[in-house]
Symmetry: D2
C-alpha cells in the first residue's frame, strides 16, 4: 500500500547541537511537531532530576525526540540503498521515531512509580485517541496511527522497522547517549554513530551490523555502560529521585487522608482515579509539578513541606553503601532509632537500588534481541561470540544499593546519645 | 583589610560542558551556590524564549552563573601574576561574578517591560536584604555584601574589578557567547577565550589587552556581533517575546478591570503594587508563569486564552519587514482593518524593533568603557584605532524592525474582501 | 555528451579528521588517487614551513586535495537539486577538485620564486602530458583531460563549475581554512561550511548565495582574514621562508659559479634549464630537498652551510617592523654595516612583505569574481552592499613589512662598536 | 639537592591542537627544544607508515614529544599539591618526558628490526654522550643527564617519577592515544585526561588512582584497546610496514653482495657496522630514507626497484587471514608455487603477526606495573579486581596473523594454471 508522502515545498531545518541539523522533508512530520501534544515535551526534561547533579543537563524530551527522528531519517536513507529494505516503511519509521516518547509524564521515573502509571500506554493512547497527533497521522491513512503505535509497541509486522526504534542498538539509545553526554559535558557518551549507520544492514528479522563495524559497536556498548554508571545512576541524582518519590508518596497519603491543602493539587487529582482521561494526563507537565512544590514549601504538613523545601533548594539526602543482605539488621535498628528521633523512616531512611544489564544475548522468555554481526560470508554471528569486550559484560547484571538519609536533620537531633548511635550505625561523619 | 578566605577541605568540581570543569575552592562560594536564591536560577532560562527557535537552548541562568564565576576564577588567577592586581579583590570578584544575575525574573525581558521592574535592583536587594545570600556574604565581613553589590552596580572603588564583571569584554559576555553557542549549536560564538585570558593585564582603571592578543579580541567581537543577529534577535524568538509581552499586558489589563479569573494569578498580584516584597518576587519563577499559562488556555477572556494557547503550543505570529518612517501610514491603515476584523491591533499587530551597538569607543554621557590595547611600549591604544575590523563596526548601531501578526487568524476572517485587503498590505502569502 | 561514469562496486571511504569521511564512488577518482603523481603530494606539505611555527601543521597537499574533492562532491550533490545545474558537469568538477594542486613543488612558495616556476603550468602539464593521471582521465573521454585542465585554468565554458573550484568562496579555500585551523590548532578557521553548502545556488555564470546565508559567509570571510594574519603570514613562518629562499638563491649562485659541491644537487639541476622535463620536475619532493639540506650542513661554502644549519635546526632570523618608505635610509646604512661586519646583506638582511586583500568587488582588469547574494526576489546583490562587516574590508589591502636578520650572528661580531651601531639601528635588544 | 631551575622571563607558549597550549617556563626545556637532536624529531613521523592508511596521520615525534612534556607538566603541578610528592623531581620529570623518544630512527619499527638497533639505547646515548642535549642538561647539574637517562630507563630511584613517564597509565600513552586519534580522525582515542590527572596520587612506589576516578581509567584502557586494533595494527598499515621491512632487508642483502648501487646509501652504510657513531645515526631521518627510495625506483635490482616503487606510490600488498598452525602446509605450498612463478617468497609472501596485551596485573619476571586504585580507606587495590571491564581483558593477549602478497604481480603470472593454483590457495579474488 502506498501512503501519501506529501513533501514540504522546502526542507525545514532545525539547528541541533548534536546532529548539527535536523531535516524535515515530510508534511506529516512538520505537522506532528506542531501539535500541542508534541510541544508539551518541551516541558518535560529528558533526564528528570539529573540537572541537580549535572547542571548542564536541562534538555527536554522534545530535544531528544527530534534527535531520534533525525537518526532514523539518516538510517532509513542508508537502508534504502539495500534491496532487503522495504521502502514503504519510511514514513512509519520516521513517525514512530518522533513520537516514541510522547506519553512521558513529568519526572516520569518517580511519578509513574508512585501513581502506577505507564508512559508507554499513554504514548499509545495519544497516538490512537482523539488528539491532534492522531488527526495528523490519519491524514496519511486510516490505519496509519495503528501502525505507528505497533512499531512503538514492538508488535509491528516488519521487525526490521521495530529494531531501528527499539533494540539493543537503536536510534533512541544512540541519540540519548550522544545527547546526554553533550549536555552533561561528560566525555563517555562518544561513539562513531556515522560509522554505525554505515555498517547497518536490513534483514527480514532485524537490522544487523556488517562485521567490519564491530569495533564501533563495541565502543557504543562501552559508552552505554559508562553513561549508566557515571550519569544515569549517579548517587546524587538518585538522592533527588528519592526525595521526589517521597513527595509523591506523601501527597498520595495526604489526599487519602483528606488533608486540607492550602494549595490543592487540582491538576493531579484526576490522575489518582480510574479512568484517567487523556486531556487530564496531558495537562500535567513539569512546570505544574514545580508550581505545586513551590507552593507546598509553606504547607502545614511538616513532611511534605520539608521534602519540597529540600527538592526546590537542592538540599538532598546523603548516602552510604548498603548491602541488602548483610545490612538488613542494621536497617531495622536504624528504623527504630529514626522513629525514636521522630524522623519517619518511611520518608527519611530509604534504600535505593540501581541495576543494569549492559548487553545480553537472547534468553528464553526475554524480549532482548541480541546484536548480530554479518560476516563477509553473509552468515550472522551474535556479537558477544566475536567481541572479547562485549563477551565480558554480556549477561552480567551490575547492581548498586545505597541507603539515603538527611544528614542535616540527624545533626539536629536533640538527644546526643541517640544522634551518636545513629551516626555510628551510618558510619557517616 | 584581610577577608576571611575560608577554603574547602577539598576542591569541589562541577562538570561543565563549556569550561569542562567549574572549580570551587572557597567555602563562601560553595555556600552561596547552596542558597535558595541561587538555586532559584535553575528555574529561569538563560535565553528566555529562544528555545522556541533553537530547541537546544534550554539552559538556565544557574548554568550561566556558574560559568561566569569560573571564568572570573581563571582570570583572577592570571591577574595575580601581575603586581598591579590587588590580591585582596579575589573573593569580592568571585562573589560578584557568581551573583551578577541573581535578580532576574522569569522571561525577564518581557516581564520587566510590562511590570516596570528592574532585575538589577532586585539583584542588589537580594544581596543586601535579609536573605540566605546576605547571611553567607556577611560571614566574610559586615561590609562584604555592600562591596559585592557595588561591583555589580559598577560603583566599586577598584574599577579593574568592575571591568572583569562588566565591560565590553567581560566574563559575563564571554560566558554567554560560548554557552549560548554551545547550547543552540550555532558555530558563531566561538573565540579563543584561553588566549584572551592570557593577554589580559590589570591596570588601575580597568583590564587592558596586550596588543599581541588583538586578533583574539577581534574574533570575540565578531562572535558577539554574529550571536546578536543570528541568535538573540532571531525574528522567531522575537515573535514569541511579542506574544509573551502581550500576555503580561493582557493580564495587567484584566486585573485592572477586576476580571474574574478561573485561575487567579495569586503569586503575580503582589508584583503589581508597591512596595514589592522580596519574598514575593522570589516566589515567581518560570514554572509558576508556565503553570498560569497552562491554566489560562481555558479562560473565558478570548485574547488571554488565545495568546496562552499560542505560547504553549508554539503557534507564533508571522512577520514582515517594517520601516518605521516609510510604513507609518500602512500601519495606521492596518490597525483600522484589524479593528474591522475584530482583531484587537493592540495585541495582534505589533511592531518589534531590535538594535545593537556591537562595540563603541567612549562617548561623553555614556557608560561604555572602550577596550584598550597595551602596546609593547606600555602605551594604551583604543582597540578600533588598531583593528580595521573593529573600526568598521565601532559606533554603528544596527537596527531591525518587524511587524508581527497572526497569519492563521487573518486566514479565518469571514469577510473575504477585508481579508484580501489586509493580506495585500502585508504582502504576505 | 555523456561521460562514462563508472561506479565502484562499493563506496570507498577515507577517514578524514576535518570532514569525518571522504567518500569515493567513481572508478576514475579511485584510480586518480592511486597514481604516482597524486601520491607524490604526500611528500609536499600543505603549509610549507609553517610547521616551524605551528608544530601541528605537518599535513600534506595530499591530505588537502582529498578534502577539496570531498567538499566538491557534497556541493555537487546539493547543486543537483537545482535545475540550473548541468548534471553532466559532475565528474569534471570532481576531477578538477582532486587535481587542482597537482603541480605544486616542494616548499612551493620560495622554490617557485627563485626558480621562476609556476605550479599552475605544471598542474596543466601533468594532466595533459603522458602521465598516469592523463591515462586515467582519458579513459573517460579523449577530451576529458583538456576539460579538467580548463576548469583549473578557469577557462572552462561552464563558469559555475569554475566558481566552485576557484572563486572568492570556493571549495579550495573552504577546505584549507578548516584544515589548516584543525592542524595548527588555532580557533580562527571555523565557519559553518554545511550551512554555506546548503545556501549555494547555481546560476549560469557562477554559484551564488541565498541571502539568508549571508551571516555564514561573513563568518567565512572573517575566518579567512584571521587565518591569513594569524597563521599564513606569521612572522616566524616568514623568517623560515626567508631562509629557504636564500638557500635556493645561494644554490643558484653556486651552480652558476661552478662551485664544487660535496653533494651535488643532481635532482635539482634539470630544473634550472629549459625545457624542464615533467619527469624531472616530479622527481623533486620535500624529502629530496631536505636530503640536500641535510648534506649541505657540511659544505665548504659558509653561507650555504650556515643557512642549511639554520633551517634544519630551526635557528631562524629575528625581525623588526620595517616601513619601506621611511626606513629606506636605515636599510642602506645597515647594508653598509653588514658588509663591514662580513655578513653578506643579500643573505642576511632581508625585507619581507606580506599583503592580502581579503575580499573585493569586481574591478576592471581584475579576475576576482565578487560573491553575490540571491535575494528572495531572485535579484542578485553583491555581498559588500549588504554586509557591514564585509564592506569594511572590501578592497582594503593590508600590508606588513618586516626586516629579517640573524641576531645571533650579530652578537658574534668582534668589533663591539660596529655591533652596537647595528643593534642601535635595529632597536633590537 | 637543589637544581638550578632557571625560569624564562616570560612563559613561552606553543599552540597545540590536542592540549590547546604547551607552556614552557624553564630555560632548560626551552634550550632542549632548540637542540638539533630534538629538532630532528620533526623529520620522523609519530606513526611511521600509518599515513598510508589514515591520510591525516602525518604528525611527527616532535609533535608528540611536546605533548608528553605538557601532560607531565600538568601532572607535576597536580602532584605538588600532595605532600608525598618530592618537589625536587619536577625538572627531571619534565626533561625525561620531553626526551623520552629522542633516539627513534626513521620508520623505527621496521628499521630497527632489520638493522638490529634499539632506539632506547640511542636515546640514552644522545642524553649522555657529547651532544647539544647533553650540554643543555649539564648546565643544571653534572649528574643531571644521568638522572634523566635513568628515568627513561626506569632505573631511577624515585619510582613515582618513573611511573608518570612509563607505566600502564603514563603521559606517553595518554598523549599518543589522544594525538593519534586527533590526527587520524578516529573517534576511539577519547578519554577524560583532565579527570585522570585530577585523581592521580603520588605514593613512594608509583602513581595511583583515587578510586572515584576508576571509570575514567576504564575509558582510557578501552581507548587504548581500540586504538591498537583500529589504528596501530590496521592491516593496510602492516602491509606498508611489510614492504618497508623488505626494502631494508633487500638493501642489507645487496650491500653484503657488493651490489653496485646507482645511488649508494652513503648515509646508511655506517649504521651497518659496529660501532655506530652517534653523529652518523642522527644524520638519518625519514627524508633521507625517502630520498633513497625515490632514487631506487630506477635501480637495476628488480626486487629493490619494485619494492621502492610500491612504497612510494602506495601500491601495497594484499592480505588474507592466516592461522600459523593450521595454515603452515599451505604456506609451504605457496612458497613453492611462488618460486615457480619467479616471485621470491622471501620478499613476496610474508606472514605478519600483531599481538597486544591491553592491560595486565603483575606477573613474576615481567616489568609491567599494574594500576592501583586508592580506596577511601587509603588501601590500594589492583584495578582489575574492581573493574568488570578491565578484568575482562586483563592478561588476555590478542593476536592477529595475516599473509601478505602482491595481488597485482600474481595476476601477471603468465602460466595461467600456476596463477589459478596460487589464487585458489589464497582464496583471493
Amino acid at each position: 500500500m502506498h501512503y501519501k508522502e506529501k513533501q514540504l515545498d522546502e526542507v525545514k531545518v532545525f539547528k541541533d547541537p548534536v546532529h548539527r541539523y535536523v531535516r524535515v522533508v515530510d508534511q506529516v512530520i512538520w505537522d506532528l511537531i506542531a501539535t500541542p501534544e508534541f510541544q508539551r515535551l518541551r516541558r518535560i526534561k529528558q533526564l528528570g532530576t539529573s540537572y541537580l547533579t549535572f547542571h548542564g543537563a536541562e534538555h527536554s524530551r522534545f530535544n531528544h525526540s527530534l534527535g531520534v527522528y533525525e537518526i532514523v531519517r539518516r538510517m532509513v536513507s542508508k537502508m534504502e540503498e539495500h534491496e532487503s529494505w522495504n521502502k514503504e516503511e519510511r514514513l512509519v519509521s520516521l513517525c514512530a521515531a518522533l513520537l516514541h516518547d510522547l506519553g512521558h509524564g513529568p519526572f516520569s521515573h518517580s511519578f509513574e512509580k508512585v501513581l502506577s502509571l505507564d508512559h508507554e500506554k499513554f504514548t499509545k493512547r495519544i497516538i490512537l485517541e482523539d488528539t491532534h497527533v492522531n488527526q495528523v497521522l490519519k491524514k496519511v491513512a486510516d490505519d496509519f496511527p495503528e501502525k505507528v503505535a505497533q512499531v512503538i509497541e514492538k508488535t509491528y509486522s516488519d521487525q526490521a522497522v521495530v529494531s531501528i526504534i527499539s533494540s539493543q542498538i537503536d536510534a533512541d539509545r544512540m541519540d540519548y547517549l550522544l545527547r546526554d553526554a553533550y549536555y552533561t559535558g561528560v566525555s563517555y557518551g562518544q561513539f562513531d554513530m556515522e560509522r554505525i549507520l554505515r555498517v547497518m544492514r536490513p534483514t527480514d528479522e532485524q537490522i544487523v551490523i556488517k562485521s567490519t563495524g564491530m569495533h564501533a559497536v563495541e565502543d557504543y556498548i562501552m559508552s552505554r555502560y559508562q553513561m549508566y554508571w557515571q550519569v544515569y545512576f549517579h548517587p546524587v541524582t538518585r538522592s533527588s529521585e528519592v526525595i521526589l518519590t517521597k513527595i509523591f508518596q506523601r501527597v498520595t497519603h495526604l489526599l487519602d487522608q483528606g488533608y486540607p491543602f492550602k494549595e490543592e493539587p487540582k491538576l493531579l487529582i484526576p490522575l489518582f482515579r480510574e479512568p484517567i482521561y487523556l486531556a487530564d494526563y496531558l495537562d500535567v507537565d513539569e512546570s505544574v509539578i514545580l508550581y505545586y512544590f513551590q507552593r507546598w514549601q509553606t504547607e502545614d504538613d511538616a513532611i511534605l513541606r520539608d521534602l519540597c523545601l529540600r527538592f526546590m533548594n537542592r538540599n538532598l539526602f546523603k548516602y552510604i553503601e548498603f548491602d541488602p543482605i548483610q545490612d538488613e539488621d542494621k536497617l531495622v535498628q536504624l528504623q527504630h532509632l529514626f522513629l525514636e528521633a521522630e524522623l519517619d523512616p518511611l520518608y527519611y531512611l530509604v534504600v535505593d537500588s540501581s541495576s543494569d544489564l549492559s548487553y545480553d544475548v537472547y534468553r528464553p522468555g526475554e524480549e532482548r534481541v541480541p546484536i548480530y554481526l554479518q560476516m563477509p560470508s553473509g552468515q550472522l554471528k551474535e556479537l558477544s561470540t566475536h567481541s572479547v569486550i562485549v563477551e565480558a559484560i554480556t549477561g552480567r547484571t551490575r547492581e548498586d544499593h545505597k541507603l539515603y538519609f538527611p544528614a542535616d536533620a540527624i545533626r539536629l537531633i536533640n538527644n546526643q546519645a541517640l544522634q551518636d548511635k545513629i551516626n555510628e550505625l551510618l558510619h557517616y561523619r
